[in-house]
Symmetry: C2
Subunit: 214 residues, 2 copies
Amino acid sequence: VRENFHESLDTITDELVAMAQQVAVMLHEASQALLTADRERAEAVIAADEEVDTLHQELELRTTELIALQQPVAVDLRLIVASMRISATLERMGDLAQHVAKAARLRHPDSAVPAPQVEQFRAMAALADDMVAKMVRVLATRDVHLAIEVDHEDDQMDQLHREVLEGLLRSESPVSVNEAVDATLLNRYYERLGDHAVSVCRRVIYLVIGDREQ
Amino acid sequence: VRENFHESLDTITDELVAMAQQVAVMLHEASQALLTADRERAEAVIAADEEVDTLHQELELRTTELIALQQPVAVDLRLIVASMRISATLERMGDLAQHVAKAARLRHPDSAVPAPQVEQFRAMAALADDMVAKMVRVLATRDVHLAIEVDHEDDQMDQLHREVLEGLLRSESPVSVNEAVDATLLNRYYERLGDHAVSVCRRVIYLVIGDREQ
């Protein structure tokens, strides 16, 4: 039974990694759809979110079942509880990628990014891709150093977030109210995506450090 | 041991109710700080969020301990898992109330709500108060009908959310980019608060319906 149990734990980790990879692809595609005003690419991301939601629901059921059937304690239980949390966060990241894609779709054939902000959003999108790619590797390898890198990258994300906001409010590059609304929401989506990537990495750090303390 | 266990479950429910009540007060105070541009009231909300975060962390530790020590199954386990989720959602609602208060503080002594939008935000704040008050009662009483009411009220919240957005984009009541940024974020905070209140209520419905199926 214990052997099956540890196989089940490995399966949960594999599924989290697969889910995180799917979120990484969605986010990349959503950013490209946004930056190139590509409606079809946006539609594909919007459709893909359902799969992430389903993966999350399945994982929630499975982890609860696993606790009931195997009654894990200590490290194993902490891993399962952390997995439930991480799954919920990944699901939310999928939602945010979908929000980015929906913003792109809404303004098509125009771009949802105001012209003066394009470079800043390109930088935010690239940083988000990088953070999420590292998050996937952290989930797969539990590399604490990489997890800490994601934490530091989030400082850059917060800085970009402030710069977009300041750019909007600066009068020399005037944007319309419509553009301001879009840019404000998109700016927030990327900032939240960064926060969530950090939250996933911190949970992994906590598991690794906790394990050492056992 | 089982008797202690059920006492522990009751304690968890009591703590969730207390946490939800605190969120309800924070949200009400944040909305009032926003609508009256009251800096002191905003500061109090910003400071109060730490307590909600602490309650959430304590509850997360306690529920994990309870699973490890008591190895609950079926209904009891589902209740504990749902409590963990609800606690995380309440913590997030506290963050959003804090965001509302921070927006109020940032613009003080001006109002963060553009003059043409004041009535709409007043309506959103009142609706949010009502939804969250009902959510508290749903947590305390598991009243499914009340939970469904919250679900319906969220349709009104979504409608108000759309109206604020349309109001911003309508040219007859021009707002500045600065005002548009504030109103866009505040609009989103209230919409998310509504979503979270619904999510808490749905988890309670799921527990009650699930119980009936046992």
